[in-house]
């Protein structure tokens, strides 16, 4: 049994002793203001964006330099103290949930932009730099950093690396992986590591795609070299309403079939449209079963050509109403509802749980019908936004967290959505990550052998299992307890056996 798994079972007295040890050893390499342990100081770090799950860490460390990060890791590794890395704490799957016997390693103070090279179109930034801050710094050169998760005003690039974050524009501009050249950081034992290169490839195995999306479990990233994209000259958006979700889904398929890759392609269902119209008053069609926002960006000539092609396809697919933004102000107004889906939902319900999964685009109508049936089964409403371009679905389940019975039903509703996504040929997480939230659902998406292979990969990077233990990849023991069966590629095992 590893030192880390022993630590998970410490009683209060052992935890106190451990805290003293950690404070003493880290205190030798960090100034006092970089170490927090009093409850009133560590409370803000007890959860990330998944606020239903809270845990006080032993200590929060706030290094300012890479050398300090390395020193913290060496010390923790030596003593078998788990380390949970944290950026801005905006994650939605509990990836930064602290370990009760561990150190929360806040990387927010490593926030310097080291270099911007406008001709090479790259920026070298520390991991704590906010996503939007990169674009703001690059703007003077007519460049920006393309991946735009909704939390971009607050989230850090290090966090984006951990989750392989997407955003509205990722169909055309790619995920974080496609916009990063190189990351530097440290292994769990403090050894320096570099993945990728300022060149377009590096010797040996391509480990960059392993690190991106690894939820802080394979290495601690301290510096990122990102690719910058020329800012498009202009953007225009079409808002189209449809009488049925099937028609909207067919329109999406036709756009792709026509060889068009929109800069953005988003769908809101009727309940979501009602919620956001009430909030932003953008003039959405409240009778529509689905609203589609379809955006084109580029030079003036490119946009003119593409908008006309998009308009024709949407019209041919039975769009009941169709508006094309005539200026930037109107374009932003079209988007305002979609971008305010969360606060709008917060107005009509005490709480909501935002789900995240991906399905093949063509199964959208089927999925929404399944969700409508689940509303009846669990007695809760659900409004949906859909990254129609890439099949990434965000159902928002509305409930009242003050009623623990509703929270429980909400969690069952969420798990049902995830398992249905796998059955339809999709995945349990499109962009928010697994964290703690979806550990059980991983048991449904992957076989025992596949999970074992992932656990072995983790051990290859972090043999002492210091980094963010207990996240992302469930143990087989946990899967056995959860009791669900692996659903393989939309096919139920033993299809002839009756289901209870």
């Amino acid at each position: 049994m590893s030192a880390v798994s022993l630590a998970a079972k410490f009683d209060d007295a052992q935890l106190r002793k451990r805290q003293e040890l950690v404070l003493a050893t880290l205190g030798a390499v960090l100034p006092p203001q970089a170490l927090l342990h009093r409850r009133e100081d560590t409370v803000p770090y007890e959860c990330d964006g998944l606020t239903a799950y809270r845990q006080a860490p032993l200590v929060v460390a706030l290094p300012q330099t890479e050398e300090q990060v390395a020193a913290i890791l060496r010390i923790c590794h030596h003593h078998g103290v788990p380390v949970v890395a944290r950026g801005a704490g905006t994650g939605l799957s509990g990836g930064a949930l602290p370990h009760r016997a561990g150190v929360t390693l806040s990387l927010a103070r490593l926030n310097r932009i080291r270099n911007i090279d406008p001709l090479a179109r790259t920026a070298v930034v520390e991991c704590g730099v906010r996503n939007l801050a990169i674009s703001e710094a690059a703007a003077a050169h007519g460049l920006y950093y393309a991946p735009d998760p909704s939390s971009q005003i607050a989230c850090t690039i290090g966090g984006n690396i951990a989750e392989n974050s997407g955003g509205v524009h990722c169909l055309k501009y790619g995920l974080t992986l496609h916009n990063v050249l190189c990351v530097k950081g440290f292994a769990g034992d403090g050894a320096p590591l570099e993945f990728g290169s300022a060149a377009l490839d590096a010797p040996g195995l391509d480990l960059l795609p392993l690190i991106v999306g690894s939820e802080g479990m394979l290495a601690v990233v301290t510096q990122v070299t990102v690719r910058l994209t020329p800012k498009p000259q202009l953007a225009r958006c079409i808002m189209a309403s449809f009488d049925s979700v099937e028609a909207a889904g067919a329109a999406v398929a036709s756009i792709i079939a026509a060889g068009i890759i929109p800069a953005g392609l988003e769908l809101m269902d009727k309940p979501m449209t009602a919620a956001v119209e009430d909030f932003v008053h953008a003039g959405y069609d409240l009778n529509a079963a689905a609203i589609l926002l379809c955006e084109s960006d580029g030079t003036a000539e490119e946009v003119a050509e593409e908008i006309e092609r998009m308009r024709a396809v949407l019209q041919d697919n039975g769009a009941a109403h169709l508006s094309i933004s005539r200026d930037e102000a109107q374009r932003l107004r079209f988007w305002s509802g979609r971008k305010n889906a969360f606060p709008a939902s917060g107005r009509i319900s005490p709480d909501y749980m935002c789900m995240d999964s991906t399905i093949p685009r063509r199964r959208l109508a089927e999925m929404l019908r399944a969700i409508a049936a689940m509303e009846g089964k669990y007695g809760l409403r659900c409004a949906n936004v859909f990254h129609a371009g890439d099949g990434n679905l965000h159902p928002l389940i509305l409930f009242d967290a003050n009623d623990p019975e509703q929270l429980h039903r909400c969690e069952l509703f969420g798990a049902d959505i995830l398992e249905t996504s796998v059955r339809l040929g999709g995945t349990v997480t499109g962009e928010h990550g697994v964290g703690v939230e979806k550990l059980n659902s991983m048991c449904v998406q992957f076989s025992a052998a596949e999970l074992e292979q992932m656990l072995a990969v983790k051990r290859a990077f972090d043999p002492s299992e210091i980094l963010n233990p207990g996240k992302a990849v469930p143990t087989l023991h946990r899967c056995a307890e959860y009791g669900k069966m692996h659903v393989h590629r939309g096919l139920m095992p033993y299809p002839d056996v009756p289901r209870f």
Binding site: H178, P203, D206, L218, Q233, R362, A449, Q453, H488
Partner: protein, 362 residues
């Protein structure tokens, strides 16, 4: 349940695992010359072929590893889609080999690497287990990205059985332009044009001549070309001559490569940050990817080539080196080498797959 061709492969892997004997994974053999020397009994993947599913409206195709690239590309072109990263076929080529070798052609700097188009795959690991990672959708962060790890892995981690690939539309229009200039000017110009949002899709510089391919929407290609002519004095290349040029470059049929493949000198593939100044190494060179990929045909000592490449922030691999196939890739830092050994161990505990194909010690 695995069908017969897949089961035969699983059985062969399990037998090799049992006695620790080496297996040499092979499709059409188009990349036999590439990487470390071939070891062991052939594990023939060519029987495992066929397009399992193709959804043009999802931009996804799923094909078994032994499917010839020509068959795949024919299916895609019927719907105006394609392998936009332009993998070389070298007269043959299978889906699995394309992914395992990880080679991409002239468009790579503009559209991405092989890895960026892999959505998921099924593999046989060294324990004879059939595993599936990733899926058929782009937005997928469930677990570690093990399917993309296999791109460029030279078959050392497992047998690729089936791959799902993102297949975007091929550009509607293209036009090529040429401009005499020095290497330094070529690096600056091609990167300036990309930064100015011209639809640059490929570039190649050789012997004082820069050629660029613009590709994308008709309006963008036309106005972009007009700008190149007006502001830089670039000359238009005739359509079919241009297509032939880029195709020859992709397939390494161009005179530069023909000379390289019949030479005793090493053909180096040097990968450096795009704006790296001339590395000042002896031999003939051809520069692609706006400066990021530099071919060098040279008998300079390997240590010198690697040292200059590393100092520039990149690396050099011996792309074609018939006399010395044990020096394929540049060395790794100690922590990275440890991770490589552990990863290999985690997938292939008996070390049966493609021994020595990536590094002699792996």
């Amino acid at each position: 349940m695995p069908d017969a061709p897949l089961q035969r492969l699983v059985d062969q892997v399990r037998a090799a695992q049992a006695d620790g004997s080496a297996l040499c994974i092979r499709g059409s053999g188009s990349k036999d010359f590439y990487g470390g020397p071939l070891h062991g009994t052939r594990l023939d993947v060519t029987e495992l072929r066929g397009i399992g599913s193709y959804e043009p409206t999802e931009m996804v195709i799923t094909a078994r590893a032994g499917t010839p690239l020509s068959e795949l590309e024919d299916a895609l072109s019927a719907y105006g889609q394609g392998l936009v990263f332009e993998p070389p076929r070298f007269g043959g080529g299978t889906v699995g080999g394309m992914v395992a070798a990880g080679l991409a052609g002239p468009a790579r700097a503009s559209v991405g690497a092989v890895r960026d188009f892999v959505l998921g795959m099924s593999i046989i690991n060294g324990r004879g287990e059939i595993l599936q990672f990733g899926g058929q959708v782009m937005k997928n962060v469930a677990g570690y990205d093990l399917s993309r790890l296999f791109a460029g892995s030279m078959g050392i981690l497992g047998v690729i059985c089936e791959v799902s690939l993102k297949v975007p539309p091929i550009p509607v229009d293209q036009a090529s332009w040429e401009l005499p200039c020095s290497l330094e000017e070529a690096l600056r110009r091609s990167n300036q044009w990309v930064a100015a949002a011209l639809p640059v899709n490929a570039s190649a510089w050789e012997a004082g001549l820069l050629r660029v391919r613009l590709a994308g929407a008709r309006a963008a290609v036309t106005s972009g070309g007009a700008r190149l002519a007006r502001e830089f004095g670039a000359q238009s290349m005739e359509g079919s001559e241009a297509r032939q040029y880029w195709d020859d470059l992709r397939e390494q049929r161009a005179p530069f490569f023909a000379a390289a493949m019949s030479s005793a000198r090493t053909l180096w593939r040097i990968s450096v940050p795009a704006l790296t100044p001339d590395l000042d190494l002896p031999g003939a060179s051809l520069v692609e990817w706006h400066g990021a990929q530099r071919w060098l045909l040279s008998d300079a000592p390997p240590a010198l080539v690697r040292e200059r490449s590393v100092r520039a922030g990149g690396h050099a691999s011996a792309f074609h080196s018939p006399g010395a196939r044990d020096q394929f890739q540049s060395p790794l830092s100690a922590p990275l080498e440890r991770i490589h050994r552990s990863l290999k161990q985690s997938f292939d505990p008996s070390g049966i797959f493609n021994r020595g194909r990536l590094y002699p010690w792996l």
